[in-house]
Amino acid sequence: MNRYAHKSEGWDWFTILIVAALLFMGIVNVYSAAFNPERPFIFDLNTLYGKQIMWIGIGLFLGIVISLIDSDYIRKLTPLAFLTVLVLLILVLFTEPINGARSWLGVGSMGIQPSEFSKFTTSLMLAYVIAQGRGKLISRKTLIAALTVVVLTMLLILIQNDTGTFLVFTAFFFVMYREGITFDPIILFFLNNIFGFRYKETWVGVHFIPMIFMIIFFSIITLYLTESVHTYSFLPGVDVKGWVLLIVSLTMLAVLVFFLVHQFAAQRSKKKIKSILVISYFIAIGYVGVVSYTYLNVLQVHQKDRIDLWLGKIEDQDGKDYNRNRALAAVGSGGFSGVGYKEAILSSPRSGHVPESETDFIFSVYSEEWGFIGSATLVVLFTLLLIRIIVIAERQKSRFARIYANSVAMIIFYHFAINVGMNIGIIPVIGIPLPFFSYGGSSMMSFLIMIFVLLKLDSQRREVLA
């Protein structure tokens, strides 16, 4: 009895509240984004909002069922769940492609997308495989098993031609990074065996994953902005070059982070973090400088054009970049406080200027209707949720639960970053849903189950001996 009383105490209400808020906002938004004036009843199952509510209902039901299962059973059921989805991923390859991707399994509108569920099962399986290993260090066998789980699923998804989901799976490399799996052996292999060094480890190798991410992130932003010219009403007559803007922004960001660290970081690590920050700042400035200089002065015109095309800087507003351009116009025309609920001009279902406005581009509907206030709130909510999941992950005694929680955080982060990023024009169009927001049964159910399993594992964290 004592054990069950203990369990209910362990539910993480902060996460539940944020997810509930996101679900509520999502429903309200789908009701606007897919509004059918002939069927205004929100629970009408012939409408997308009716269906979305149904999916949430099914997701919650499955979640409650899961919360009745003991977390140890969840762990034990992992290989079965993983293999089931793997079979579905293979089965799906024999279907007719829809929009160029073979990702739907089932009949008509009641199909499911195994790739959506594979994010969940792969998270579990990765945790399962790594947690099997004993001790802090990862054995070569564990490493190979972990890589097999991830790479095998990724391959199947790549064959499906679902680029978006494929990209999301690189999230697992961050989780591996957290668990100490590095690319250092490869780099050491080259350095020591070929160049004759005697390193035991390299900083670059160890932090390869976040480094790559940061490099790509800064490269895109730098290439995107460096050539542009900005004018501001508070600086009349001054044309601010893009690269100047970048350096100013970076400086402002560094000062902000420095202030945050100064205020909130633990006393003992303060000095270290501050020095890392200062070094990172100069590296970032230097990097921006090198990339800008190369882009502006070294590259040939045709090389620049190729980059610009990929970044969407050269736009074919009414052709290839139609979706993106309309979505950006919708977001941008939201203004500070939005045009009002169900008043969207561009992205409303009636005007239909933004395609896929109930799925991949749903953020544009929300942004147009709720403006900067609404969209900033959404960004804050997601950021809080992500940080909270990391906090949950780090308080787990069980390695299985920790790895799983980190996976959930990174997958939601990828979805959030890519989806919102493409809606605001800093990432090329990659069709993946915004968690809890975009219409879609498979993704909604998959994310809800993911969260429920996370909450369940967290609620029983004290019973498990790591």
Partner: protein
């Protein structure tokens, strides 16, 4: 390395992305206006609303050019569902095959040739869009539409669209009002801001001259358009909308009943009747015979049916005779010669000339012992003597040089009567007539190689001199006014504005008012006294003054000409009638003018015999 601290890497990533996103959102949504403009470009669509054209009223406030609602049967291909072609063909009364042909025809009509910049080759681009409305049938009358309308809801994707077209309650005045036709490429390129392909534009007559007023001001309705081009809502609650404004009504000087009567009298005859109110210059009636029902030229359906027929008609109903036909005026020209003679003091009121028939032919009449009698009897030799005195005033010894001086002087007189110059009136298609001058004869005969005797035919309105019927009527108005005139014009007022400024300018002839009395006396006697040439123009209890003319011409029988005004002491109407190849002026033109004046002044005809005689006469059948 402490792996646990790597969570900070995650948190740093989340914060970094969160901050970048919020920064970017703030920039896009709050600072940068570019996207709002872009949204406008994408979703705003301007719908141009063109008002119905301005209405034309006659001088008695009767509607003479109105608008009538017609309907286009529209369709949007994307909206067509379960299309039953058999039922549809029954409904609109064309065969099933024709329905398919019509769809194909609409599509093909939107082909557009463009030249590729790359290859230089012509390629055909088709502008047909399945989500935009197109007209399946055009210009259906209300009755035709009513037959279809009840069953139209059964055919999804089809609907009716009201349009406004011209309507002429009284089927007269076609040559005055003109007609509308679909705009052509030149007209379109001249004013792309107003016109669109398929618009109608005034092609002739008042519709053309007053096009800019009649077309009104277009309104703009800004709508929120869907990606498929459909109206979703008003944009910004209609704050950017402007209303279409119908063109102002035009109030004409025309009396439509008089016009109709004139056209009736001129049936089966070729020629013109022009009536002017002398005190204002307003044109009361302007008949061009033969004429046609202006309703025949309303809308593309009618124009396609009738244009070629009218255009190819050997009697040229489109030809605006009153404005453009230049005729020798015949004896009515003697009036102006007499006036110039009096003004130049080469004669006095009581100068008499012998009727020397060896000089120029004449008819038997008592001696023309003064100016008035010369007019009453229309004595040809009298005017030979008179005009010789005007032209050969003896200012130079050489008769050739003298004639040149005389003719130049005479020409300035003529111009002061609006002859030999284009009237500046409010209609297109005018011609100036011909007043031969020094250059004219120098070119023909050589300098100083001609004198009065060479050009003497002009004395009696033959030879080189030519007038349009409008000029003849205006001449009558000038005489009625004792020497001045207002430019003859059709539009009295436009909306609340009076006539155009140029019609308020009093134009004076070079002949002083005192010289007109004697001329008028002669004209009165020509109508009312024995031996007068225009006795058929007499009206009981109205004193008519008139002058006949019989214009010889190389095209056959003489033209019958008459100009007059009435009543003599307070002229209300001045008129010129010209009947081609009808013989003596007193026989046909005079009674027609008389009937017109009586109709206008009394509102009824007392002498029905006179009327019936005119109505029965068919000069066209005689020709054939």
């Amino acid at each position: 390395m402490n792996l646990e601290s790597r969570k900070l890497v995650f948190i740093f990533l989340f914060l970094l992305v969160g901050i970048v996103f919020i920064g970017r959102l703030f920039y896009m949504q709050v600072i940068d206006d570019k996207w709002i403009e872009r949204a406008g470009e994408v979703a705003k669509r301007k719908i141009i609303i063109k008002p119905p054209r301005g209405i034309l009223y006659d001088r008695n406030k009767q509607k003479v050019v109105a608008n009538k609602t017609y309907y286009n049967l529209m369709f949007v291909e994307d909206d067509i569902k379960d299309f039953d072609t058999v039922a549809f063909s029954k409904l609109i009364g064309i065969s099933v095959d024709s329905i398919e042909q019509r769809f194909a025809q609409i599509k093909k009509s939107l082909d557009r040739r463009t030249r590729s910049k790359k290859t230089g080759n012509d390629t055909v681009v088709n502008d047909y869009r399945t989500y935009l409305p197109h007209a399946f049938l055009k210009e259906l009358s209300a009755n035709e539409m009513a037959e279809i309308a009840t069953e139209l809801p059964d055919f999804k994707g089809f609907y009716e669209h009201a349009i406004s077209m011209r309507d002429y309650p009284s089927p007269h005045g076609a040559n005055i009002f003109g007609y509308l036709n679909e705009i052509n490429a030149t007209e379109l390129n001249a004013d792309r801001r107003f016109y669109n392909v398929g618009d109608f534009i005034g092609r002739t007559g008042l519709e053309k001259y007053y096009e800019f007023s009649l077309r009104g001001q277009k309104g703009v309705k800004v709508i929120l358009s869907s990606a498929r081009g459909k109206r979703v809502d008003n944009f910004a609650d209609g704050k950017l909308d402007t209303n279409a404004q119908q063109g102002p009504p035009l109030h004409l000087g025309i009396d439509i009943d008089l016009q109709a009567y004139g056209e009736k009298l001129m049936e089966n005859k070729l020629g013109s009747v022009v009536a002017i109110e002398p005190s204002t210059g307003e044109i009361l009636a302007m008949v061009s015979a033969p004429s046609f029902d202006p309703n025949m030229m309303v809308g593309t359906r009618n124009i396609r049916k009738n244009y070629r027929k009218l255009y190819n008609d050997s009697l040229k109903p489109f030809y605006p005779r009153p404005l453009a036909a230049e005729y020798p005026p015949g004896s009515i020209f003697k009036i102006i010669q007499a006036l110039v003679g009096l003004q130049e003091e080469v004669i006095t009121e009581n100068t008499g000339f012998p009727c020397t028939q060896s000089l120029v032919g004449c008819h038997n009449h008592p001696p023309a012992s003064n100016v008035a009698k010369s007019i009453q009897y229309s004595c040809n030799p009298y005017y030979y003597h008179l005009v010789k005195r005007i032209i050969q005033q003896g200012k130079e010894k050489s008769i050739f040089k003298d004639a040149a001086i005389g003719l130049s002087l005479w020409e300035t007189y003529m111009k002061s009567f609006g002859l030999g110059i284009k009237p500046e009136t409010d209609i297109f298609g005018l011609r100036s007539g011909v007043i031969p001058n020094v250059e004219f004869y120098n070119h023909w005969y050589g300098e100083y190689r001609w004198a009065f005797s060479t050009i003497r035919s002009n004395s009696i309105g033959q030879g080189e001199v030519k007038l349009t019927p409008l000029q003849m009527a205006n001449l009558a108005a000038i005489i009625a006014n004792d020497g001045y005139y207002y430019e003859p014009h059709l539009v009295k007022s436009m909306g609340d504005d009076g006539p155009l400024d140029k019609f308020l300018v009093k134009k004076k002839s070079m002949v002083d008012p005192q010289h007109f009395a004697v001329v008028k006396e002669g004209m009165r006697d020509a109508v009312n006294e024995p031996y007068g040439t225009a006795r058929r123009a007499r009206i009981d209890d109205i004193v008519v003054a008139g002058k006949t003319g019989t214009a010889q011409n190389p095209h056959g029988e003489d033209h019958s000409v008459f100009m007059a005004f009435a009543p003599l002491d307070n002229p209300k109407i001045a008129i010129a009638v010209f009947v081609e190849n009808a013989g003596f002026g007193g026989t046909w033109a005079a009674p027609i003018a008389s009937l017109m004046m009586e109709k206008y002044l009394k509102g009824e005809i007392t002498n029905t015999y006179k009327e019936q005689r005119i109505l029965d006469k068919n000069f066209i059948a005689n020709d054939e």
